[in-house]
């Protein structure tokens, strides 16, 4: 049954290599590497799964917009279950809904569909910056990182090898497409799945904060988007220029949360960015973020 092909847009990008799929708010770029036949199979599997996703999620949207509970009912859809599983570890401590992991869970699901149907050497599913990826042994990915989600410019790169447990990357911040309770420009998280990374990035970005600071403008989420899952939570609308010690304090609050997530294995590494300051949270000797570096400032482009 395929009732949805009129709405979903699926096409190869002009480079002839990447598959772009869009349906409602879901906007995904997929790329697989390896033998042409495997890439073809992987793309067909990705597209077949993709056209089902939005209706599947919307059928349980009310449930997915409610705060997650550790012991509550399970949703029926596979992606909804991925979402709930990703946010449950936080449910007893903070307000969080499964929607905090929707982008990552969609990416994980499409990637799973591709890998079960084909054997690409590498593949990634980039769902609006939340990325799930697959690596065959001895393969690796180089991933660019952004300073602010609303401006797609790189501040550094990180390399993930097949031997690392990391298969998901996500970025969250108040300037991004989703609302944030915190003031981080961007928190990028590396985790075992994209859904885990997505949930954790949301949680850590919320924690980078200076409660009550007069330069931070917040608005009730429901006043901006009446049906937001964040309801009356105050979401960040603008952040004035902060003093260096304030930036440090806000980042420290985020680092505390990120460090505890690292300790419990919920994340593998995180990069926190606020007004040009970046802090890394990673285990000692962790290679992933060691090569996060600024681009060469001496470059003159034009």
């Amino acid at each position: 049954m395929n009732t949805l092909t009129n709405r979903a847009q699926i096409r190869l990008l002009p480079d002839g290599r990447r598959l772009h799929m869009q349906d409602g708010p879901i906007d995904v770029i997929v790329e697989a590497f390896g033998e042409v036949h495997e890439i073809d199979l992987a793309y067909r599997a990705a597209a077949a799964r993709f056209v089902e996703i939005l209706d599947e999620l919307c059928s349980e949207l009310a449930f997915l917009r409610r705060p997650a509970r550790e012991d509550g009912d399970l949703p029926s859809g596979a992606i909804a279950r991925r979402m709930l599983a990703a946010v449950r570890p936080y449910a007893s401590q903070i307000f969080v809904t499964p929607m905090a992991a929707v982008a990552g869970a969609v990416a994980d699901e499409i990637l799973a569909a591709m890998i079960s149907a084909a054997k690409p050497s590498r593949a990634y599913v980039n769902d609006g910056g939340d990325i799930a990826f697959h690596l065959q042994p001895s393969e690796m990915f180089v991933v660019g990182m952004v300073e602010r989600p609303d401006r797609t410019s790189l501040f550094g790169t990180t390399t993930v090898h097949s031997a690392d447990p990391i298969r998901g990357i996500a970025t969250s911040g108040w300037r991004g497409r989703s609302f944030s309770l915190g003031i981080a420009d961007a928190v990028t998280v590396l985790a075992d799945t994209a859904a885990m990374a997505d949930a954790a990035a949301t949680v850590v970005a919320n924690a980078v904060d200076l409660p009550g600071h007069p330069m931070i403008v917040r608005t009730r989420a429901c006043d901006l988007a009446p049906d937001s899952d964040l309801g009356e939570c105050m979401v960040t609308q603008s952040v004035g220029e902060l003093a260096p010690n304030e930036i440090d304090d806000a980042l420290k609050a985020g680092i505390r949360v990120a460090a505890s997530l690292l300790h419990s294995g919920l994340i593998r590494a995180a990069a926190l960015n606020l007004q040009g300051e970046t802090r890394l949270v990673a285990p000692a000797g962790c290679a992933q973020l060691a090569d996060v570096r600024e681009p060469d400032r001496s470059l003159i482009h034009a």
């Binding site: 409602g24 006043d223 001496s298």
Partner: protein, 486 residues
């Protein structure tokens, strides 16, 4: 809840969208109660008049496939085209379309400009700061005060020294300030030992918290010349207070010609030519761009040999914003009186003749070798082609001024470009759209990437990723056949 939100039914998420906001997809928005679609790549469409700057969701989108593929009516801008830096690769979009039987090529790219900045014209008489003073944003040096033009203060912001030559923060703040100004947003600037000014393209400047309403009609001397006849017979002496050139009616050539008798007035400051005085006070943000609040403070005692009790004196600023009327008492001291109706009219006339004060923002940048290499394998030929007026350069469809001399150094009025046309990279540098339009045959001659030329119709088919805008009527159509300068 006030139900000004609308329900978007473009997909099963069924977002409730508040006015001025987008749905969760960022593709559909509530624009004044109407559901509209916002897509990332801007296609200027000559067929639709301005004011209808986004394509309505249902009706118009159906027309995209057929009618508008005729060519010449649609021009692809570089906004959102992406860039291929370092530009050894062909530019992201090389579009061909038929215009009056000639195959035209528009090479569309977004240039990364480290060598770029903004020339800011602020219509004000008020003293913003001394020439060469540093202009700061968020405490960082982002530019400097340059010349005072007629009724306006010019600032020069950005440039490679601020972008990449200073501290990282200086570069970031400079880039941010340029980006905001170029995208039509406001920027707060502080001038060392001067004023704080809030500027935004196309709006009135706000100097030290006070909105500038008017641009002066002329300097103090010119104002005397313009209004002398209207004052003649209604008042015995007029002083037009101006920080640059204060004018005095009875001494001015215009007053002499009318036969205005001497009044015995004595101005402070340095007399330049008859009836024209420099530096009657210090520069400031009050009367006529001086620092005075009491106009009498620029006058010395009246000459008892010449002046007489009852002499009528009008003092007015170059915009008519400040004015006061005096009559001399028995001791020849000016006593403020209510402005007589006949003079009120002339003060109103000064105001009426002042244009609204605005800030204008010109983007200025140089298209370097690597950017030009994205257009042709032989970059210098592009420069020559632009020189020879065979290639037209536009910024987001807006006309540009190309500086004479070497290279392709351009200036463009950001208010003639589509909204949010600019981006940035953390070098830091601005990303600005730039399009080169020329005949297909000329493009081949100058070593263009002929195998990358795509027909315009191929862009239409990718309609999901393009934003279609109405062309701005004040801009010449980029594909129109007349040559630049006509």
């Amino acid at each position: 809840m006030a139900d000004d939100a609308i329900r978007c039914d473009a997909c099963p998420v069924l977002c409730y969208i508040k006015p001025g906001r987008t749905g969760s997809c960022d593709r559909y928005a509530n624009a004044g109660g109407q559901l509209v679609r916002l897509d990332p790549h801007v296609v200027l469409d000559r067929a639709v008049s301005r004011g209808d700057t986004v394509v309505p969701f249902l009706e118009k989108s159906r027309e995209w496939d057929g009618a508008l593929v005729s060519g010449g009516e649609t021009f692809v801008t570089a906004i959102g085209a992406g860039t291929t830096y370092p530009d050894y690769k062909p530019a992201p979009f090389i579009i061909s379309s038929q215009v009056a039987g000639v195959d035209m090529v528009t090479v569309v790219t977004e240039g990364i400009f480290s060598y770029c900045g903004v020339k800011l014209k602020i219509d004000t008489d008020r003293h913003l700061g001394a020439e060469c003073s540093t202009v700061r944003a968020q405490g960082e040096a982002v530019g400097h005060v340059t010349t005072n033009e007629y009724g306006s203060q010019m600032l020069s912001l950005g440039g490679v020294r601020h972008l990449t030559g200073g501290s990282r923060r200086e570069g970031t703040v400079t880039c941010d300030t340029l980006l905001n100004l170029c995208n039509g947003k406001a920027a707060e600037l502080q001038i060392d030992d001067g004023a704080s000014v809030l500027v935004q393209a196309g709006t009135a400047p706000i100097v030290d918290g006070v909105k500038e309403e008017r641009m002066r009609v002329g300097c103090g001397s010119a104002t005397i010349g313009m209004f002398a006849k209207q004052w003649f017979g209604k008042v015995d002496e007029v002083v037009v207070v101006d920080d640059h050139i204060t004018g005095v009616l009875s001494e001015h050539q215009a007053g002499k010609l009318l036969g205005v008798p001497e009044s015995g007035i004595a101005l402070k400051g340095r007399r330049s030519t008859p009836g024209r005085y420099f530096r009657v006070a210090e520069p400031g943000t009050s009367w006529g761009g001086t620092d005075i609040d009491d106009p009498l403070s620029i006058l010395g005692p009246f000459d008892p040999e010449v002046a007489r009790p009852g002499l009528r004196l009008l003092m007015v600023s170059t915009t008519g914003e400040h004015h006061a009327y005096f009559e001399l008492d028995e001791a020849l001291r000016p006593v403020e009186k209510q402005l007589p109706p006949a003079l009120r009219e002339s003060v109103e006339r000064i105001r009426e003749n002042c244009e609204p004060a605005l800030c204008t923002v010109l983007f200025m940048g140089g298209a370097g070798g690597s950017l030009r290499a994205g257009v042709t394998e032989n970059p210098v030929k592009l420069t020559h082609s632009v020189r020879d007026a065979l290639t037209r350069v536009t910024c987001g469809g807006a006309p540009v001024y190309v500086w004479p001399g070497g290279g392709i150094t351009i200036m463009a009025d950001v208010s003639r470009m589509p909204e949010n046309a600019f981006g940035y990279v953390p070098t830091p540098a601005l990303v600005a759209p730039i399009e080169f339009t020329l005949k297909l045959s000329d493009y081949a001659t100058l070593g263009g990437y002929m195998d990358h030329v795509r027909p315009l119709s191929s862009i239409h088919r990718d309609e999901e990723s393009h934003r279609r805008l109405a062309a701005r009527p004040e801009n010449p159509w980029p594909l129109a056949s007349e040559k630049r300068g006509k």
